[in-house]
Subunit: 424 residues, 2 copies
C-alpha cells in the first residue's frame, strides 16, 4: 500500500484512528528517551571490576608509577590497545583521558591556532572550511562552530562520504581545511566506509592543500553487532602507501566499551603532527589519568580480551536494534526510509520531506524524547527537515518497544496529516 | 663571617677546597632531581585504597550512575569537598578531571577567545596583559604565552603580591586582563597572602576594567606542614563583600593529596562566569570522570577526613623541608637568602646576582638536576639571574641530604669564584 494511492476519505479515517492511538499513548504519561548514544546500566556493569582491578600494583609494564605525574603519550600497554583498535603502529598512538571529544577539540585548536610542521594555522585563511558528510554527529559540528570554522556538507552514501563530491570540493576550494569521518558504523547512518573510500580518503593528501586534515573519529571501531559486520581497512596503511600520513588524525575511546564517562581515549597521527600535539598538550596538562589507563590495560590486555568483552555488549545491544528494525519494517515501510547497520549506536530514519520537526514535536507530546530536528546537520539545519536519529541503547527492551510504538504512530500521524493537507 | 671581608688569598684557598669537594661529589656520579613538586611514592601510597574503594556501588549520593555520561558540573559530594577547600559556596564550584591546569587553560581560553557575560574577549584588546607576581610558577606563564598574552611582573612579598604595584598597574594600564595568584604557600616562595592582601585583591574589581580576572590557583590550600601554619581567608567572601565576584576564578585539586596524575580538580567562580564556562566545557567533553570523583568522595568525605589525610603527608614532608632549611642555615647564610614556609612544595632560594645559571650548571655537572634558571619568571627570564626553586618532596631523605650537599657546595663555589673575579 502506498500512501499516495489512498483516497482522501480513507486518509481521514486513518488520521482519526491514529489520533485516537496517539491520545491513548499520551494518556500513559510516559517519559522515554532515545536521544543519545548512551550505554545502558547493564552494559556499563560489564566493566564493574575496573574498580579494584589493580590489586595494589600501580606499576605499568615499563615500571612507571602510574600514581604520579608524567608521560604525556600515555602508558605503552594502553597505546598498544589503541594501536590494535586503530590498525596503526603503536609509535603513532597517544593514550589520553576519558574523552576522545576533548582530544578532537584540542587537535582542532592546534591546527586552527598554531598549525603543525606541514600546516599553517587554519586561522590564517579567510574562511577555513570543513567538509561534513551528512547526516553526521552534532558534537563534531559544535567543535567547528566554536572555532568559527565554516562547514560544507556532502552526502553520506552506503559506502561512506560521496567521494566524487569531496574530491571536487577539495580541488575547487582552497579554504577546505578538513573533513569529519566516523568510518565504521557511522553516526548516525551506521554505514562502514568501504575499502575504495578509505583509499580515496588517504589519497586526498595528494590533491589537497598541505593544511588539510581528516578527523577520523573511529568511535565504533570494535562495536559490531554480528560476526559478519563489515570490516574497516587501515587508513594509516593507506596513508603510508601514498605518503599522506600528515593528513590523518585518528580518534577512538573505550566510552562505549567500559564506562561511558570514565574510560580512556586515543589519538593517532604522523610523527610531526604528534610532536606539535604533545607540545600543546604539555601546556594544558601534566598528563592523563594513568591509573585509569592501567585499569583498562588490566581489564582489556589485548584484542582477544577486547573482542570477547565487546561480544557481551553486542548480546545486550542486538535485541534492541532488532526491536527498532522490526518496528520500522512492520509499521513504516511506506512512511520513510532508514539504513540497516551491523554495529554502532544509531539508526538513521528519513521521514517524508518537511516532517522531522513535526514528528519530534508529536513524540515529545507523547512522552518520547528524540534528538532535536536538524541535530544531524551542521548549524542544526536539516535542509529537508527529514532526518531523525534513533539511539536504542539506553532504554530497556520493554521501554524501547513502547518508544517505537510512539515513534511509529507519530511518523504515521504526521505523514497522514501532510497527505491530507496536500490533498486539500 | 661575610664573604666580602675575606681576603683574596683566603678566597683562593676556599675555592681550592670547594673545587676538591665538588670533584669528589662529581666522582660519585649521582643522579638526583629536585626540580618538580612531585609527591614521593610514600605519599601517593597514602591513597592506594582509592582503587577498589567503591565496592561495586557506583551511585552518587544523588543517585547518579557515575559510570555513564553526563553532569558537566561534577558530583555534588565532590563539589562539596571543593567548596570546603576553597571556602566558597558549593553552588559556585565545578568538579572536573585530573588536572587543575587544564581548567586554568580552558578558563584562560574562554576569557581570551569568547569572553563572559561581563567581559569582552581579551583577544579584542591590543595587548592583553597579565600581572605575574615573581618568582612564580612556570606553567602559569606557559598558559599566557600559548595564548599570546603579555606578562608584566610585580614583586612577591611576604604578605603576597606587592599590592601597591598591582593597583598602580591596573589604574594606569587598561590592557591588564588578569593576574596569577598562588595564595597559600605560594609557588615558589611559600608565602601565604595575608588578610589585607586578600581584601585588596577582592577590591581590584572596583578599579579594574570589567574584563579583569584573578586566576586564584589555590594548589596548596590544605597542604600545611604545621598546625600553626598561616591561614588563608576566603577570597570569595571578600569578593561578595565588594560585589566583585566576576573577577575571581579559583582552582584547586587533589594532585598533591591523593594520586598526582589521577585526582580531581575544581574551579569556582561567579554564576555568570560558570555559565559561560559550562557552555565551552560542553563543547570539549561530555563530562569529567565521575567514577574517579566518587572514589575521592568516598576516600575524603569531609574536611575532617581530608585534614587527617593531609596530616600523613605533612609527616612525610616536614622532615624533608627541615633537611633543606638546615642545610641552608648551616651552610649558606652568607651566600644567599631564602624564605621560610610552613607548607606547599617549594623553597625559593636567591643567590647573589648573576649566579643562578652558574649554580644550576654546576649542580648538573655533579649529578643534581635543578629547575632551569629563569623558570620562576615569565619568558624564562630572571632579570637578576638569582632565583632557584628547590622541590624537596620526591627524593628520599637520604637523597635529599646528598642533593643539598651538592647544592650548597655549588652555591659556595659559584659565589667564591664570583668574588675572586670581582677582586681581580
Amino acid at each position: 500500500m502506498s500512501i499516495h494511492s489512498i483516497k482522501p476519505a480513507q486518509l481521514n479515517a486513518l488520521a482519526t484512528d491514529l489520533n485516537a492511538t496517539f491520545q491513548t499513548l499520551q494518556n500513559e504519561q510516559l517519559n522515554l528517551d532515545i536521544t543519545r548514544g548512551k550505554p545502558s546500566p547493564e552494559q556499563v556493569s560489564l566493566s564493574d571490576k575496573l574498580d579494584g582491578i589493580l590489586g595494589n600494583d600501580f606499576l605499568s609494564k615499563t615500571g612507571e608509577d602510574t600514581r604520579n605525574y608524567g608521560n604525556l603519550r600515555g602508558l605503552q600497554e594502553v597505546r598498544e590497545i589503541g594501536s590494535s583498535i586503530l590498525k596503526t603502529p603503536e609509535t603513532q598512538v597517544f593514550a589520553g583521558g576519558n574523552s576522545s571529544l576533548s582530544l578532537m577539540h584540542m587537535v582542532a585548536m592546534l591546527q586552527h591556532s598554531y598549525g603543525t610542521k606541514t600546516a599553517q594555522p587554519w586561522q590564517s585563511l579567510d574562511t577555513p572550511t570543513f567538509i561534513c558528510p551528512v547526516p553526521g554527529y552534532d558534537r563534531h559540528f559544535s567543535v567547528c562552530q566554536t572555532l568559527n570554522i565554516n562547514m560544507i556538507t556532502v552526502p553520506m552514501l552506503a559506502t561512506g562520504p560521496d567521494m566524487d563530491a569531496v574530491e571536487k570540493l577539495i580541488q575547487e576550494n582552497d579554504q577546505i581545511v578538513g573533513m569529519w569521518c566516523v568510518p565504521r558504523f557511522s553516526n548516525p547512518t551506521g554505514c562502514t566506509y568501504n575499502d575504495a573510500t578509505v583509499t580515496r580518503i588517504a589519497k586526498l593528501g595528494t590533491i589537497a592543500k598541505p593544511y588539510f586534515r581528516i578527523f577520523w573519529d573511529n568511535a565504533y571501531a570494535v562495536h559490531s553487532l554480528s560476526d559478519d559486520a563489515p570490516v574497516l581497512s587501515s587508513v594509516w596503511d593507506e596513508c603510508v602507501k601514498y605518503g599522506t600520513e600528515d593528513i590523518i588524525w585518528q580518534f577512538a575511546s573505550t566510552s562505549k566499551a567500559t564506562f561511558a564517562g570514565a574510560g580512556v581515549a586515543w589519538t593517532a597521527s604522523s610523527t610531526d603532527n604528534l610532536a606539535a600535539f604533545e607540545k600543546l598538550l604539555g601546556i594544558t596538562t601534566i598528563g592523563a589519568d594513568k591509573v585509569n589507563q592501567l585499569r583498562h590495560a588490566r581489564l582489556l590486555p589485548d584484542m582477544a580480551a577486547l573482542s570477547a568483552h565487546m561480544q557481551f555488549h553486542a548480546e545486550i545491544l542486538k535485541p534492541k536494534f532488532d526491536i527498532v528494525f522490526t518496528a520500522l519494517e512492520n509499521e513504516l515501510s511506506e512512511y520513510g526510509s532508514w539504513t540497516h547497520t551491523d554495529g554502532g549506536y544509531f539508526i538513521s530514519f528519513d521521514a517524508n520531506h518537511g516532517l522531522a520537526s513535526e514528528i519530534i514535536a508529536l513524540a515529545a507530546q507523547a512522552g518520547l524524547k528524540l534528538t532535536p530536528a536538524g541535530a544531524t546537520y551542521p548549524y542544526g539545519e536539516d535542509p529537508e527537515d527529514r532526518n531523525i536519529r534513533i539511539a536504542p541503547s539506553f532504554p530497556s527492551e520493554e521501554e524501547l518497544r513502547k518508544a517505537m510504538q510512539i515513534f511509529t504512530v507519530c511518523v504515521k500521524l504526521a505523514t497522514i496529516r501532510q497527505a491530507i493537507d496536500q490533498a486539500s
